[in-house]
Symmetry: C2
Subunit: 280 residues, 2 copies
């Protein structure tokens, strides 16, 4: 099978590797708006060849959109305008509501399968692509009832071969969950990095002291604004909702510490500890 990957960054590049590693695609075509990224992806062997948008849509059995989420809705529409009944189109973006709304009434909507594999790192670009990226991580498929059974089945079979368990939600549900599980963690990391950069002057010491929990909470602050600005903007109301609640929780902890309310702090920390139930 021939697969075309639009967007040869962390996610698209890693998916190209997964398609090859699991024997899913024998021929992988890459498309990227950046000639530099495309050349790098080819050099790294992520894809077999680079093609234009039109060539890729013409030739591929499977068309994969791994572009920034603000680019995806229009790109998906352009591709659906020309897609054949034998082709399947899937995306891998972190938000889905706008995308699914834009393509909702498209006559070829059935060829499209909206997926969000729950994997990523703070790195970006083709050089960040990894083997084994999605294996063992859950993938969300959204609005499955709007995909044609054969297209849905093809995408489910791919995730099964990659070793990614699939769960199903509406696009609206997925965007809410992603805000809680992924987007807020990124916002918090950006803010933590800014906090330390703002207040801390002896950077040498920051570096030396990085073992105390800082690395794991601030790691995501290295993430690319090109990826994350469209996600935050596209999921604005969910992200704001979670962000307000998070600031509120921080203010409660702050007030308890100010007032030396040890019992309150202990109770809050014990409640937070129950996250163990769901994150073993």
């Amino acid at each position: 099978m021939t697969a075309a990957i639009f967007g040869l960054g962390l996610i698209g590049g890693s998916f190209a590797l997964a398609l090859r590693d699991h024997g899913i695609a024998g021929d992988i075509v890459g498309v990227d708006a950046s000639a530099e990224n495309a050349a790098k992806a080819l050099e790294l062997g992520l894809v077999d060849r680079i093609a234009t948008h039109d060539e890729a849509v013409e030739q591929a059995d499977l068309i994969v959109l791994a572009t920034p989420v603000d680019v995806t809705p229009i790109l998906a529409t352009r591709i659906l305008n020309r897609v054949r009944a034998s082709q399947t189109v899937m995306d891998m973006g972190s938000i889905k509501e706008e995308l699914c709304e834009v393509i909702e009434q498209h006559p070829a909507r059935g060829r499209f399968v909206a997926t969000h594999p729950m994997w990523g790192t703070e790195f970006s670009g083709p050089a960040a692509a990894q083997h084994g990226a999605f294996t063992g991580r859950t993938t969300v498929i959204c609005d499955r009832e709007l995909s044609a059974p054969d297209a849905l089945g093809a995408v489910e079979a791919i995730w099964a071969r990659v070793g990614s368990p699939v769960i199903y939600m509406s696009a609206a549900e997925q965007d809410l969950h992603a805000a809680y599980i992924s987007h807020i963690s990124h916002i918090t990391s950006f803010a933590l990095a800014l906090t330390v950069l703002e207040k801390e002057r002896e950077e040498e010491h920051i570096f030396d002291l990085a073992g105390g929990g800082f690395e794991s909470t601030v790691r995501l602050a290295k993430s690319s604004p090109d990826t994350w600005l469209p996600i935050f903007a596209g999921n604005k109301y969910n992200v704001l909702d979670v962000l307000r609640e998070h600031i509120h929780q921080l203010q409660i902890l702050r007030r308890m510490l100010e007032r030396n309310d040890r019992e309150g702090l202990r109770a809050a920390m014990q409640k937070a500890n129950t996250i163990k139930r769901i994150l073993p």
Copy 2:
């Protein structure tokens, strides 16, 4: 050499393993306020034997305090009251200002070396102890000029053998740095866990979606209140200072998102990205 470890939890247990693994102590005595913890540490082979406070102080060449930070100042004083010139006492706590103030004028202050190895996990108790825990992580030694040269040299030699590079600060500096590098990350994780627990009802989905950055930022929310409440309370003014700045940074990001200020968000994320310089 005989070492006595007071406090057989994550830190004390891991340090006992390091002392043995690096051939530093041939005889390791454990002391713990909890008979259950003591029995578990013995069963796990972290220590060779369990002793009373008095026996341990009598017999040990090196006395290590790995107790909760609110216990350490009084315990240190009681031990210094009886320490001999051939003995060295060190602690491993996350905060130092109160401790160093309490023992400052003690006639045996020179026998004490205040250290903070920058290592930890979200787990606690003897069963959480790990081999290789401190190797490659920095250790802070505080107020070194107040330790006798031989006591300081003995502790420096231990960290050198364990493979932990040592840096030096005043107790006040260390508490400020620890607030930025470690304590704020823990507060944020607790608050993030509370945010998700407060707002999210479909726990099954939290579990399934845990790949999106959530694990790394929320991991520390599993940490023990017995360890962390005394740290936050004991470093109250530094923690409040960092916490206020962190909430301020989150509010700035929130307002930019509310106003669709993409340029502002991009600039903030790009600034946060510069954390790469110091956290490669």
